[in-house]
Structure formats: structure tokens, C-alpha cells
């Protein structure tokens, strides 16, 4: 096949967000995946990952649901499952970890699912997957993403370390590397992994406002022209709830919030519309600077 890069196949668990609030994440993800010749194999008949309400209410449910997803993936012959939503990722990974380390929970879950659990597929987050194909990105960049951005990881991608085992818990860098790979600059700031309020996005917007304000304040204070995220909740909290946030700031902020997939998409020269940039509440616009559109001859 062209460019000699083998097609990379990986299991794909969309979860609810990517079909609802964060359709733009899904759209950009699929476009970028295609461009980087990654085949996303959706887990057949997937169910809820057991996040938010699930693990607030009942531990067993919050275990059984994600394990059921992984079992289906395994049945479909997938050895790895990528969950773009940080919350889905965290649920799947946590459940997998607990099954692996507590025979008791394993037995319990096996009982309710009426099956025996063998070797479950590995769980990846979107950054892990992209980092894996980082070397494919560089050569495909047609339009350098020449912005200075704040990479915001939130809490669920890197914590708890023993479950995720991904990147540096306190000082993650994978997203920064990806941004750099498409020509962007990243700021050294302090709220990389702070909480954004997650699912309070809907229920307790005041909390989101308070937490978000801190995040935006630091990012803008350190001259970020955009915030880059890899989590639907981070995105909606900082984008959808910008009003709430700005109420708590003396200096109102208007910098856009992009998914890492959208950033890469832009650099690969994909259409802003198809990347779903139009769906944002805070319009995606950058301070005017000579954006040299690379002429491909």
C-alpha cells in the first residue's frame, strides 16, 4: 500500500460522548485515523462503560459493564481496544486491572456475566494510540499548526498510575510531543492534570465554573492561544461552560479548546468543517499571523 506503512488495526470503543456531546471528537478522530492508515474496528454491540452514574451507584455494575465490553472485543478477536473518551478509558482500564489483581472480584463478575474471563484485550487511550504512530504524522503535515497551546490532560488519562501505567502521572508529556510533531508550541503550565469538574458539566455547573476558571486563568496567563484536550468532559467543561468560567474571571477568555485529533487534522490539511470545528461554542479562531499554507507541488 502507499507510503509503505502497514495498516494498523485496533479495537474502538466510542462510548456515549462521542455519539452525543462530542461528535466533533469522533469526526476528527476518524478522519485522522484514516489519514494515518489506522483501522478503527468498533466493538460489536458495545454497552455503557459504567462511568459517572454507574460507578457512583454500584461497584459491581461499574465492573461488570466495562468487562462485558472487553469480553465482546475479545470475542471479536481484538487484542487492544482504544477508548477516546478519557472516562471510558479509565473505567475499562480500572475494571481490567481489578479483575487481574483480585480473584474475588473476578469470580463476582464472572458470576453476574455467567462466563469465565480469559485474557482481556489491552485498553488504550487516544494519546497512546497516536504516540504509537507519531512517526507517521510528521511526513504527512501539509500545514504546520503554528500556535502556542496549553496541553490539558485532566485527571482520567494518567490516574491512577498503577492502572493507566501511561506517561508521567504528575507531569505528562505525550500530548505536548504530538503538538510539537505538527509544528505547535506548548506552554509550561501548572494545571495540566487538575480536575475540570468532569461530569458536573451538567449537574453542578458552578463547580465547573470555579475549577475551569483556574485552568483558563493559568493557561491564558502563560500566553496560550488555545487549549488542547483529549477528553470529552474536559472539552465541554472548558468550551460549553466558558460563560460560567468567564463570570469568575476579571479578564474574560476567548481562546478555543481543541481536541488533539482536531489539531493534528488541521496540520494534515483536513477541512475545518469535517473536523467539526464548527461545533464548538468558543469559535476556533487564532490571532492573525502569517499562516504559510504549505504549497504542495
Amino acid at each position: 500500500m502507499k507510503s509503505g506503512i502497514q495498516d494498523l488495526q485496533v479495537g474502538y470503543f466510542p462510548g456515549c460522548s462521542l455519539q452525543g456531546s462530542s461528535r466533533d471528537f469522533a469526526e476528527s478522530l476518524h478522519l485522522v485515523a484514516k489519514a494515518l492508515s489506522i483501522e478503527l474496528c468498533e466493538v460489536p454491540e458495545w454497552n455503557c462503560c459504567g462511568a459517572s452514574s454507574g460507578h457512583m451507584i454500584d461497584h459491581l455494575v461499574s465492573m461488570a459493564l466495562p468487562i462485558n465490553v472487553l469480553l465482546k472485543a475479545q470475542k471479536a478477536g481484538l487484542d487492544r481496544v482504544m477508548a477516546p473518551c478519557a472516562s471510558c478509558y479509565n473505567r475499562l482500564a480500572t475494571a481490567r486491572h481489578e479483575i487481574a489483581h483480585s480473584p474475588a472480584s473476578k469470580a463476582q463478575v464472572e458470576k453476574v456475566l455467567q462466563t469465565t474471563i480469559g485474557k482481556l484485550p489491552r485498553v488504550l487511550n487516544v494519546l497512546e494510540l497516536l504516540a504509537e504512530v507519531a512517526d507517521r504524522i510528521g511526513p504527512k503535515v501539509t500545514k504546520k499548526f503554528e500556535q502556542t497551546v496549553a496541553c490539558y490532560y485532566g485527571c482520567l488519562l494518567v490516574r491512577p498510575a498503577k492502572v493507566t501505567g501511561f506517561d508521567r502521572t504528575e507531569e505528562p508529556v505525550e500530548m505536548d510531543k504530538l503538538v510539537a510533531a505538527v509544528g505547535g508550541k506548548t506552554i509550561d503550565w501548572n494545571f495540566k492534570t487538575e480536575c475540570c469538574g468532569a461530569s458536573f458539566s451538567v449537574s453542578r455547573t458552578a463547580v465547573v465554573g470555579r475549577l475551569g476558571a483556574k485552568i483558563m486563568n493559568d493557561a491564558v496567563g502563560k500566553k496560550a492561544e488555545a487549549i488542547v484536550v483529549a477528553c470529552p468532559m474536559c472539552h465541554s467543561n472548558l468550551d460549553l461552560r466558558r460563560g460560567e468560567i468567564n463570570q469568575r474571571l476579571d479578564v474574560k477568555t476567548d481562546i478555543p479548546v481543541l481536541f488533539i485529533t482536531q489539531v493534528i487534522g488541521l496540520a494534515l490539511g483536513l477541512s475545518e468543517k469535517e473536523l467539526g470545528l464548527g461545533r464548538h461554542f468558543v469559535p476556533v479562531a487564532f490571532p492573525a499571523k502569517p499562516v504559510a499554507a504549505a504549497t504542495v507541488s
Partner: protein
């Protein structure tokens, strides 16, 4: 026909709880050669040992198997008992029913079956034991102390005061160690240097102590009582005899901007320098990386200006070899490096410092003369935050253990701060307060009650800068688990105590064992805390585990007594576990054919050539001979010998073979 007695220990429930000891005793009675087998709650107890002694007498036993804990634990105990009972101590063997059986297997028939096997193995062995006599070797009554911190200083003085000479080796240019950097010491708040420097001077003056500063141990050969230590004296590039420590050289040295290690980089020093004013010896050393002459071949300012003409640019390292009888390891600790704390901005923000830096700030001899000024701009911090357990008890940081000293020195730091900065606000984030020790908890209470230090029970997630000020983000787990944010002028991390760099290599040079964190391992956690598993090598201070000053000093004195005890004997008796070459009546003389392939296999050059002569003195045959003074009993020669002419006492071919055949 041997008469073996088997004594099975319950070790309370430790063994009896898992192994059916009665069944083991019964099975033992059926083993050929066993004439007596009993079980008892605690064999190592006095009544237990008496039982053993009586049995030896009454049942006329000639061999004893004690089935109890690991021989590494109680073999000496029971061998002594056997001797008191009237048989040769080496007619006693131990079957390890605890560490190797009851503690590692589930209760049940297979476990008991294994216990029986373990007993049988030892029965078969002991039947083939021969009475052995301990080996006598001379002792070199001179001690080597590695490390010139308070541990090494104390040990050296205590040993020297018993009348034995000591070599004190310190890798840096002066003795004193970490303690010389401390400001004041808990729980009494007396000035560290005030109590330490007299000791340092005493060491320098002591007629029996030879000081090797700026020196390192290269090699240690030999064994207890008879070590050979190779010491490298690094070249100071000055003639210590001529130098009078006037200090002109450091004043005149053109290179002045080198971060001063003693002040933890809070001040600068010259390229030729004495680490600190009270240094012992008070002689400078030239830092080759930074000296202009060694970099560019020009300068020599110090040489020109030295009033006593003591500078020696051509001075070389010197190697010295010394015979010593005992070694005390006192190489101390280090604290966790900067790179491990990105979340606290340690190394990123000037005003986030570690405990040792704070000691220098608070020290009257420090760069600020004891005034608490923050590194960035020299302002006095009005609010200061201390973070205890920075790295300690944190698996992610690879340090699951408690660093032990931080609770106390952090309380001390906060207290000193409150004393020096009136109206200042000090907050301490902590997990637990571990203030076990004489007057320790009282000390912490004082910090809280009298000096108004604020203790917040919770972890800090992040320290970041906001508008030029540090913000400490943490949680208070006691008051409604609230998130707390403190805007601080300075942050002090109580960084974890870790094993000294190069500890592992040193342990390997000395053949002492070490734990997963590279702290040197004591021979027994409770009963032999200052000994290592290598006879004649002892431990003092934080090289074994995190320790505070009182503990370190106590342990150093303990180690010193062990050394003194060793030196108090006229000669050394060593385990007779050594190789011997067989001797036969003429005309064979020995099964050894004198090929001497064993010679190069011996790690101790213990194998010598012995010519066997007839009356007229002409050589009939040359055979191998083991020097019992040198042989350490590894047995490598035994398995190299084709004719089986060499055998190892205590682990003879016959014994091992019988053990194997009994399984």
C-alpha cells in the same frame, strides 16, 4: 552404629500450627540410627536446651538434629548446647522447618511430609558428621572505618579509646558529613556544629586514629581479623605538611563562581577551597574540573601567592595497602534528587528547596548567617510551607519506606522559622506525625502549641507559580476533606532519605548483602543489628536504614564495641568449615595426583604445594595442601577435583551424597 536424637520445635504456633509435629517425631523414630525423638514448644528456650543436653547424656547420643528455624538463625545456639551436653558441637545439625516449610506452605499432609523429609536429610547428614575443632587464626588489631560523618567519627573514637588503632577513610576533603551542615538539632535545639566540631578535632588529634580524607576504599581482600584494604588517596594538589591553612589561596583564586556543595549551592566557592571553616583537616583541595590551570595550563595564582609554597600541581593519587582486622561501614545516606519532584516544581522554582538547603539557611555559619531568606530574591518569606513525606512512603517514587527523620526535622524547621521570622506563618502538610523518641513528641507539641506551627493532615498535589508567587495546592483530610490552597513565599520539601550513591558497588566490593533499596543488610533485624552477614564487617548509621543522630551515635558505639570485642581476643577461632586434602598411608600418601587444577580455582590462594619426601629427603610426590588460615570453605576446589582427593569439612562428599540419597 550412630545414636541420633531428633528435637522438633513447635516454635509456638509458627511450626506446630502448620506441621503435624507429633507425626514428624513419630516418623523420625523410624529412621535408621535415630534412637530418640521428641517435640517441644520452644527448643531454644532454657528448658528446651536443657532437654537436649539431658537427652545427649541419658540416651548417649552421638548426633543431634534440631528441627526448628533456619540454621542461619539458631545453629550457633544449638551447637553450643550440644557441646554443653557433651558432644562435639559439629555433631549437631538443624532442619529448617520454619522458614523453609511451615511459613511457606499451607497446613496439610504434604507439608508434614516435607518436614519429615527435611528431618531425614539432616539425620542422614549428621550420621556422617565428624567432630571438628574450630580453627585458630591471628587478628590484626587495627580497624578500618569507612565514612567520616558522625557515625564514622563516633565509631572511630570509641574503637581508638579502647586502645586499637583506626584508619578513618572519608571520600570528601573534610570529615563531618551531613551533621556538619545542620543548623540546630532536635529535640534540644543545640547547634549541630557546636557539638560536632569538638569531636572532629578529637579525631584529628587522637594518636591512634589515622585520617584519610579525600580518599576512597578501592579493594578489600581477606577475611575477619585479616583483611587487606587498598585505599586511594586522591591528590589534593597541595602538600599537607607545608600547608598551614591560612586561606590566602582561596581568597586569591580567580575562579570564584562555583556552587558551594557544603552550602547546597546557596553560595559560591573558589576552585581551590576548604569545604567549610571548621573543616578537619583545615587544608584546601584543588577542584580539577574548575581550576583554570588544569583547564588551560595558565594561572597558578595560588602557587605564586602561597606563603608556604605548598601547592603541588604535579601531585598524583597515592595507593596505600593496610592490614586491618575489622571494618565499620558508616557511609551514610543521600536525599532524593530534584528530578523526582516535577509536580512540586522542585528545581524549576528557586524558592522550592529541600530540607538540607533550609538547614544551611537556618545555620549561623550558613550563607545568610542564619537569617531565613528565600533564594530567589533574598526576601524573608512571610508564609512558608513544609511538605513532609516528599517521596517517602510513595511507591510511585520507588520509596515505600518511611524516611524516619523528616517528621522531626520538619517540626524543627518550622520552629526555627517561627523563632527567626516573627509573625511568619508556617504550615506543614503531613501524612502522620512519627515522633517516637525521648522528648520527641513533646518537641512536636511545642512547635504546635508554643510556636503556632499549623499542621495540615493531607498531601500536596502540586506547587505552582501564579503571578510570581508559589501556590501550594493540597487537601486537608481532617477538616471536611477540603481542598486547600496556600500562597507561599517559600516551600520546603522533606525529601526522602535514600542509600548513598555507589552503595551497591561498595557492598559488592565488601561482599556484604544489601536490601532492595541498596541499604546495607544487618545480620539479623533484631538480634544482630550492627553486624553484617560477612564476619568482621559492621554497620553504623544511615547506610543501614534512615536514622537520626542519637540512633546513629548509639549504633556507632555498638559497632565499636563489636570491634573491640573482636580485638579483645588473643586470636580468632573460625568455623572449621574448610577444605582438606586427604592423606593416606604410604606408598599412596594421598589420592591427590598433584595436577593443581584446584589451585587456580581457589578464590583465596589457599592451596599450596606440599612435597612428600622419604627419609633421605628426596621428593616422592608433590600434593596439594590447604592453608586453613586462608581457606574460607567455599568448596569450589572440591567440585573441581577429579580424584575427589579434596573434601570440605561440614559439607563433605559423603554428607551431601547421603542427604541427596535420603530424599
Amino acid at each position: 552404629m550412630s545414636r541420633v536424637g531428633v528435637f522438633i520445635c513447635h516454635c509456638g504456633e509458627n511450626i506446630a500450627g502448620t506441621v503435624d509435629v507429633a507425626a514428624v517425631a513419630k516418623a523420625a523414630l523410624d529412621m535408621p540410627g535415630v534412637v530418640h525423638a521428641i517435640e517441644y514448644k520452644y527448643m531454644c528456650s532454657d528448658p528446651g536446651q536443657t532437654m537436649l543436653k539431658d537427652a545427649i547424656r541419658d540416651k548417649r547420643l552421638d548426633g543431634v538434629v534440631v528441627a526448628a528455624c533456619s540454621p542461619r538463625m539458631h545453629e550457633p545456639t544449638f551447637r553450643r548446647t550440644a557441646e554443653e551436653g557433651g558432644i562435639n558441637p559439629y555433631q549437631c545439625e538443624m532442619a529448617n522447618l520454619r522458614e523453609h516449610c511451615s511459613w511457606v506452605h499451607e497446613k496439610g499432609e504434604p507439608t508434614t511430609a516435607k518436614a519429615v523429609d527435611l528431618v531425614r536429610i539432616q539425620v542422614e547428614k549428621v550420621k556422617r558428621n565428624h567432630p571438628l575443632k574450630p580453627i585458630r587464626v591471628p587478628i590484626t588489631k587495627k580497624a578500618l572505618v569507612l565514612g567520616g560523618g558522625i557515625a564514622g567519627i563516633q565509631a572511630a573514637l570509641d574503637i581508638a579509646n579502647t586502645g586499637s588503632p583506626v584508619l578513618l577513610v572519608e571520600k570528601s576533603p573534610s570529615i563531618g558529613g551531613h551533621m556538619s551542615q545542620l543548623s540546630e538539632t532536635f529535640p534540644t535545639l543545640d547547634c549541630s556544629q557546636c557539638i560536632l566540631t569538638p569531636r572532629m578535632v578529637e579525631v584529628a588529634r587522637h594518636p591512634l586514629i589515622t585520617l584519610y580524607t579525600y580518599s576512597e576504599l578501592e579493594k578489600l581482600e581477606g577475611f575477619i581479623g585479616n583483611f587487606k584494604a587498598t585505599i586511594r588517596k586522591k591528590a589534593r594538589k597541595i602538600d599537607e605538611k607545608l600547608c598551614n591553612g591560612c586561606g590566602v589561596c582561596q581568597q586569591k583564586c580567580p575562579v570564584k563562581k562555583i556552587p558551594d556543595q557544603f552550602n547546597e549551592g546557596l553560595s559560591n566557592r573558589a576552585a581551590i577551597y576548604v569545604p567549610f571553616p571548621q573543616a578537619v583537616p583545615n587544608k584546601p583541595v584543588i577542584d580539577l574540573e574548575n581550576c583554570t590551570f588544569f583547564k588551560s595550563g595558565k594561572c597558578k595564582a595560588c602557587e605564586k601567592l602561597c606563603p608556604t609554597k605548598a601547592i603541588r600541581f604535579d601531585q598524583e593519587d597515592q595507593i596505600e595497602v593496610h592490614d586491618v582486622g575489622a571494618v565499620v561501614l558508616a557511609t551514610g545516606y543521600k536525599t532524593m534528587p530534584v528530578s523526582n519532584f516535577s509536580e512540586y516544581g522542585y528545581g524549576k522554582y528557586k524558592d522550592v528547596i529541600d530540607g538540607m538547603k533550609f538547614e544551611r539557611l537556618a545555620s549561623a555559619s550558613g550563607p545568610t548567617g542564619g537569617a531565613i531568606k528565600r533564594p530567589s530574591d533574598g526576601k524573608t518569606p512571610e508564609t512558608i510551607v513544609f511538605i513532609a513525606c516528599a517521596g517517602s512512603r510513595d511507591r510511585l517514587k520507588g520509596v515505600p519506606y518511611c524516611s524516619k527523620i523528616c517528621c522531626m526535622y520538619t517540626a524543627k524547621h518550622a520552629m526555627l522559622y517561627q523563632h527567626k521570622v516573627h509573625g511568619g506563618k508556617a504550615t506543614i502538610f503531613y501524612m502522620d506525625i512519627r515522633a517516637a523518641g525521648k522528648n520527641y513528641d513533646e518537641f512536636v507539641r511545642r512547635a504546635v502549641e508554643e510556636d503556632g506551627v499549623k499542621y495540615v493532615r493531607g498531601r500536596v498535589s502540586r506547587v505552582y507559580e501564579d503571578g510570581g508567587q508559589l501556590v501550594v495546592k493540597g487537601v486537608d483530610t481532617l477538616l471536611g476533606a477540603e481542598q486547600v490552597e496556600i500562597r507561599a513565599d517559600m516551600v520546603v520539601l522533606a525529601t526522602a532519605v535514600q542509600a548513598q550513591d555507589g552503595a551497591e558497588e561498595l557492598a559488592q566490593t565488601l561482599h556484604v548483602s544489601y536490601d532492595p533499596y541498596k541499604f546495607f543488610a544487618e545480620a539479623h533485624p533484631k538480634l544482630r543489628p550492627v553486624e553484617t552477614n560477612t564476619a568482621g564487617i559492621f554497620l553504623a548509621g544511615a547506610c543501614q536504614a534512615p536514622r537520626d543522630i542519637p540512633e546513629t551515635v548509639a549504633q556507632a558505639s555498638g559497632a565499636a564495641v563489636k570491634v573491640a570485642g573482636l580485638f579483645s581476643q588473643p586470636e580468632l577461632t573460625r568455623e572449621p568449615i574448610i577444605a582438606v586434602v586427604d592423606r593416606q598411608p604410604p606408598p599412596v600418601f594421598s589420592h591427590c595426583v598433584g595436577c593443581f587444577l584446584c589451585k587456580s580455582a581457589c578464590p583465596y590462594q589457599a592451596i599450596e604445594e606440599e612435597p612428600i619426601k622419604n627419609r633421605n629427603g628426596d621428593v616422592l610426590k608433590v600434593v596439594a595442601k590447604v592453608n586453613p588460615g586462608l581457606c574460607q570453605g567455599c568448596g569450589t576446589c572440591v567440585s573441581t577435583c577429579r580424584t575427589k582427593a579434596i573434601d570440605l569439612q561440614g559439607f563433605s562428599n559423603e554428607q551431601v551424597f547421603a542427604e541427596l540419597m535420603s530424599i
